[in-house]
Structures are given as structure tokens and as C-alpha cells.
């Protein structure tokens, strides 16, 4: 029996950096001020690289659902920000954002509950170095931000009846490299011939070999891999 499933799982609280020093992080529920700061500071830098999957995203459109109406919806949308803690200035500088749908049928077992990762983004290194508020030098740039952002979804699932199950659709724009990255995180790719859970998406956007999911076993393993950062 996994004791953590009885106590709840802490979110990650630090990240390793290039220079070896750890960077203090905090995972917070997403707020309008964080979204506004991201869209004004980080998104313009992301948009400079049209190859990025998250180029052109507008968090001012995506966030209202989770911030304002999440609790009213059956799918339980929720937003999280991962931010760098700057104790000197008392600031929380977002370095990753994710929007989740907390209650969906799991891809691997349609009778079970899963979290779906709808949007997930991390600040590019150029943003971490160029934006003054981060106060980061090259050797203090945090590593594993993508894994940490994905871990937020796993942790949410572990803490909210999903036992770690997480599903997502890897953006086709990311191609095989993105799909392989999710596989390296421990996710399984839903084969093209496997059906999605019942619902309109099964018809509109059927399984295409780009849906990925964490099984309970692999979610637990992925979560345990980051335990040293909690």
C-alpha cells in the first residue's frame, strides 16, 4: 500500500539548476495577476519561436474558465501556476502554467476517473534569463520544468480521486519529439485502434495515436521520481 495515497502528495517545492544549486518553487492555484503577468512578459518571448507548440496561446482567453467558473462545472477545471519564489522582493514569478480538467473518464479504463491536461506551458530559457524579475543567472536556470509541470497534473490526480491517472493529447505540431518526450515521462500512447471514452470527442477527434495517458502504476513511478524535490 502506498502511504502517500493516505496522506495526499505534496507538490514540488524546488527544482535542480544547471549549476547544481536548487531553485525554490511554489505551486499555487492560478490567479488573474499571474496570468496577466505571463501574457505580458513570457508569452511574447514564446511567440518569437513559431515552432513552439505554445506559440500564439492566449492565456487571457483560456484561464477564465478555470478561474471563474471551474467549481460550477462537472469536469472540475482547475489552473495551477508553478512559480519561482523570490524572497527578497516577496514575489512569485510564474515559470510554468497548466490548466487541467479534474474529472474525466480515463483513457485506459473508461469507468475510472482521470485528470486531463488541457494546456501546459513552461517558460523558455530565453525568458528565464531575459526577464529581470526571475533574477536568474545562467547557472541558476531551473531544470525539469516540463516534468514538474506534468507532475502538477499527476499530483492533482493523486489528491483528487484519480490515483495519478492523467490523459492528454500531444499537439500534432510537436510531432514525434513531443510524443517521445511524454513517453519518456512514463506515459503510454493510446493506440490508434483503441477507442476514447464515450463522449463527443470520440466522434469529433477520435484516437489518432497522439493521446497519451499515465496508468496508476506509471503515474506513481513518475511521482516518486520527483519526490526528492517535494
Amino acid at each position: 500500500m502506498d502511504l502517500r495515497s493516505w496522506t495526499g502528495v505534496q507538490f514540488v517545492r524546488r527544482a535542480p539548476s544547471k549549476g547544481g544549486e536548487e531553485v525554490e518553487l511554489r505551486v499555487s492555484r492560478m490567479t488573474p495577476s499571474q496570468v496577466l503577468w505571463w501574457q505580458s512578459h513570457v508569452q511574447p518571448i514564446i511567440d518569437r519561436d513559431p515552432k513552439r507548440v505554445d506559440a500564439g496561446w492566449n492565456w487571457l482567453l483560456y484561464a477564465p474558465f478555470t478561474l471563474l467558473v471551474g467549481s460550477a462545472l462537472a469536469r472540475r477545471p482547475v489552473g495551477y501556476s508553478v512559480g519561482i519564489v523570490v524572497p527578497d522582493t516577496g514575489q512569485f514569478i510564474p515559470c510554468a502554467l497548466t490548466l487541467l480538467l479534474g474529472r474525466n473518464p480515463a483513457f485506459d479504463d473508461h469507468s475510472r476517473r482521470s485528470t486531463v491536461s488541457w494546456y501546459l506551458t513552461t517558460a523558455p530559457e530565453a525568458a528565464l534569463l531575459d526577464i529581470e524579475e526571475y533574477r536568474l543567472s545562467e547557472d541558476r536556470v531551473p531544470k525539469l520544468l516540463g516534468s514538474i509541470a506534468l507532475d502538477v497534473a499527476v499530483t492533482h490526480s493523486l489528491n483528487h480521486w484519480g490515483r495519478g491517472r492523467v490523459g492528454l493529447h500531444a499537439d500534432l505540431k510537436g510531432g514525434d519529439p513531443l510524443l517521445h518526450w511524454y513517453q519518456r515521462q512514463g506515459m503510454t500512447v493510446l493506440p490508434k485502434d483503441r477507442r476514447l471514452p464515450p463522449g463527443p470527442r470520440r466522434l469529433v477527434r477520435p484516437s489518432d495515436g497522439h493521446y497519451c495517458y499515465f496508468t496508476v502504476k506509471h503515474a506513481r513511478a513518475a511521482s516518486q521520481r520527483l519526490d526528492y524535490l517535494r
Binding site: 495526499g8 512578459h41 482567453l61 462545472l73 483528487h160
Partner: protein, 99 residues
């Protein structure tokens, strides 16, 4: 795959009679109008957005808000863990079901 900004604009046009080419109007509708709608209709809108995942493009003109002040630590408390007794009861129920 996330839903594109184009789809967000189309849905705002369909459900809110908003000009899909006007990014400010689209944003305003999601920020101010959506929360006033009945939950069933919000659910319908979410359904529409999710159904169209992966279609369209991020085609709205890119507008960035003027430099916003950095969020403070006070405004960003650590995300809460579920209450211990809730987790405990949940696990107990699961065990009983299995047993």
C-alpha cells in the same frame, strides 16, 4: 492538444454574438459574461471548446497586455492538499468496496 484561439473566438461568436475578429471583445466575453451564465450553458460551451480541440489555429491577432506587475507571494499561497480526513475516508471506502 489544446483548443486554439480561433475556436475560442468562434465559440464566443456563436454563443455570445461577439465579433470573432475583435480579440478584446472575445476576451471580455470570456472574462465577464461567461461567469453569469447558468452552469448547464457553461458546460455546453466547454463541451464545444473540447470537441474542437486540435482544429483551427491560434489565429487571433496577438495582443499583449501592458506590463503587468509581478505577482506577490501573498497572492500565491501554496496549492492546498486535500484534507486528511477526506483522503482517509475516500481510501477507506475504496478498501471496503474491494473487500
Amino acid at each position: 492538444m489544446p483548443t486554439s484561439t480561433e475556436v475560442f473566438a468562434d465559440v464566443a461568436a456563436r454563443f455570445g454574438d461577439v465579433d470573432p475578429q475583435d480579440p478584446d471583445a472575445v476576451r471580455q466575453w470570456y472574462e465577464t459574461k461567461i461567469p453569469t451564465l447558468p452552469p448547464a450553458q457553461i458546460d455546453e460551451i466547454l463541451d464545444e471548446l473540447l470537441q474542437k480541440e486540435g482544429t483551427g489555429a491560434h489565429s487571433l491577432p496577438r495582443t499583449y497586455p501592458p506590463a503587468a506587475p509581478p505577482p506577490t507571494l501573498d497572492e500565491a499561497p501554496p496549492a492546498p492538499l486535500p484534507l486528511f480526513f477526506v483522503v482517509f475516508l475516500r481510501n477507506l471506502l475504496a478498501l471496503l468496496r474491494r473487500g
